[in-house]
Symmetry: C3
Subunit: 139 residues, 3 copies
Amino acid sequence: MIQKFFKLQISTNGQKLYEFTNQTLDWIKENKFKNGLINISIQHTSASLIVQENADPDVQNDLINYFDKLVPMDNRLYAHITEGKDDMPAHIKSSLTNNQISLSIKDKNLLLGTWQGLYLFEHRLENQKRTIIHHFIGE
Amino acid sequence: MIQKFFKLQISTNGQKLYEFTNQTLDWIKENKFKNGLINISIQHTSASLIVQENADPDVQNDLINYFDKLVPMDNRLYAHITEGKDDMPAHIKSSLTNNQISLSIKDKNLLLGTWQGLYLFEHRLENQKRTIIHHFIGE
Amino acid sequence: MIQKFFKLQISTNGQKLYEFTNQTLDWIKENKFKNGLINISIQHTSASLIVQENADPDVQNDLINYFDKLVPMDNRLYAHITEGKDDMPAHIKSSLTNNQISLSIKDKNLLLGTWQGLYLFEHRLENQKRTIIHHFIGE
């Protein structure tokens, strides 16, 4: 059994989905991981991780719009407003999605479905630097 | 340390919760897993996994109804509509729940609470074949 | 590779966030875990786990209020009402957040972001005893 870590940093410019499937796949390939778990965790509470369809870009826009309606940027709704109208909604959106995803690797393949991609879901409006930890345990 | 994989396939016929706790328990028993992690991941983005109460079937119906109201099947709300009125809501419901769950096994027992069951949450209206990967790492 | 388990019990008195980051950190330190995964799972379906900001307490109140509006305690909306007006909303809130979180440990440090804390999110109104399993796998 071995363990390896990889810190992926992504610069974001606004509320969008940022795909990082390829960076994860490259890391698996470089390290010749055969079978094991990858735990992927985001080190922030105003951005999150999701596994979503990577075929039609409309899906991503619909997701962003949906979450924006579900969690309105309206300071009258929240007490925590000092960091901007997008901050408390960002924390809520983060709670509604994921901070962390564990994925399986079998025979050197990351077990994702045909249409599944890995995304950072940025919930803040201004530019951010986001850290996503990859942690492999296996062989 | 050993690793084992098991691909569970479930045929679904509409928006429902499909319990698979017994299939998971059977696989653990057959393989005599003692202590370890099971990572369970669904290979689709329009169905999801949840751990929920398995005592009162009303809970399942209430969950389905709640999610249907929260994410309306109304094509006017979405840009991604080519795959049917239920498709984009299915992607959103999948984001609001889980693609993946990790569970612990201790002394041959899957550590679930008394009332917890494992469910596939189907969000599409038409018949589907769903693949749920089970991956054990432990001893 | 070693595995260890730890059952954390938290008494709750109403809908609140209960931080347990320190209990998790103490357990890691006592056991001198170096590198590995911790799987944390709650054994209930009417309370959940979240990773959230631990700086401004307003964030926690805003979260509780948001989820209360999103999932109203109104018996007319649900069929499962025998356990109280807060019970079915609790199951739904649990589905919208997490039953389980996997975290990574590297060089004896739990990899959480600067502002991230671990919380039990209690969704029931009356006093409860909640069990949160910690399971370490690593070295």
